[in-house]
């Protein structure tokens, strides 16, 4: 069973683009409308209370720039982490678990796109469309940069 889960991706539909992470990084799926907003100095910070933990929320716009949760299309919040402990919530329009066999032509990001390495490790194809492959540590670092 553990081996099976390593062969699964969660495909996250961000509205105008799609990314994928290992399915094992998904801790829970919640509603974005349950998110809480507080003010940190001059900045609004969104988070959700999950099993007595406060989990920060990352919202990304069509350019994958950090955005306000209220500007995101969709009401899905996928909590990502390790060992069933979420480290961040990612706002998205929808998500789907797919088999790694469906992901093809995976390539490292070309050097000319190096700025996108902030968020993604690889590019790939899924059902004839582009898929950006990410990893938890990149999203975590991106969230930290966005809130600090």
């Amino acid at each position: 069973m553990a081996q099976l889960s390593q062969n699964l991706y969660v495909l996250i539909d961000m509205g105008s683009w799609r990314m994928a992470l290992p399915q094992s990084d998904v801790v829970s799926v919640e509603l974005l409308s349950d998110a809480i907003c507080t003010r940190k100095k001059r900045r609004l910070v969104w988070w959700i209370k999950w099993q007595d933990n406060r989990v920060g929320i990352l919202a990304l716009d069509e350019h994958a720039n950090s955005a306000d949760v209220e500007d995101i299309d969709g009401n899905v919040l996928v909590l990502l982490g390790e060992s069933k402990t979420p480290v961040l919530g990612l706002a998205c329009a929808n998500l789907e678990v797919i088999n790694a066999d469906e992901v093809s032509n995976e390539v490292a990001l070309p050097t000319v796109m190096s700025k996108a390495l902030n968020l993604f490790t690889h590019l790939a194809m899924h059902r004839g469309e582009l898929l950006c492959i990410s990893e938890l540590s990149k999203l975590e670092a991106y969230l930290q940069q966005a809130v600090n």
Binding site: P110, T111, V112, F120
Partner: protein, 146 residues
């Protein structure tokens, strides 16, 4: 009579021309759609899915004009990344022309574009002025932080 070599004259942005060695371009595509790669820089934030391959598209209009414009054509080219040969596409705004290029080098074209980071040298062409001779290796390994 001065010596010339055959090369492609490319319109890399409206009103902006550059030269590409004849053997560097493999295919020309006029019916295409591109996919956006979020966070990638404006000159390279699209890929072209071609024959089950993911080709980065270099669009020089973002560097030469300061604003990316939609191309009419894509020229599929090869480039080297470390020891591997990869494929990419250059955004084109007119059909390429095969021309004779003089051997004498000239000064880089004026403007905002970082030509020395993208090209090997420059020539002066009648009617077109100074045109950079593009290096596909430099284009697709270009990083603005350099």
């Amino acid at each position: 009579m001065s010596e010339t070599v055959q090369a492609w004259l490319l319109c890399v942005a409206p009103g902006v021309y550059a030269v590409l060695p004849r053997q560097a371009m493999g295919h020309l595509v006029d019916d295409f759609s591109v996919s956006n790669v979020p966070q990638a820089p404006g000159y390279a934030n699209h890929v072209y899915l071609w024959k089950d391959r993911i080709l980065p598209v270099f669009n020089l209009s973002a560097l030469t004009l300061g604003e990316r414009q939609a191309p009419l054509l894509l020229g599929v080219v090869a480039y080297r990344r470390d020891t591997e040969i990869k494929q990419g596409a250059i955004a084109l705004f007119e059909a390429p022309k095969l021309i004779g290029v003089p051997a004498e080098s000239a000064d880089w074209p004026e403007g905002r574009c970082p030509w020395p980071a993208l090209a090997d040298s420059c020539v002066t062409l009648p009617s077109y002025g100074a045109c950079a001779i593009l290096s596909t290796d430099k284009l697709f390994n270009y990083s603005a932080q350099c």
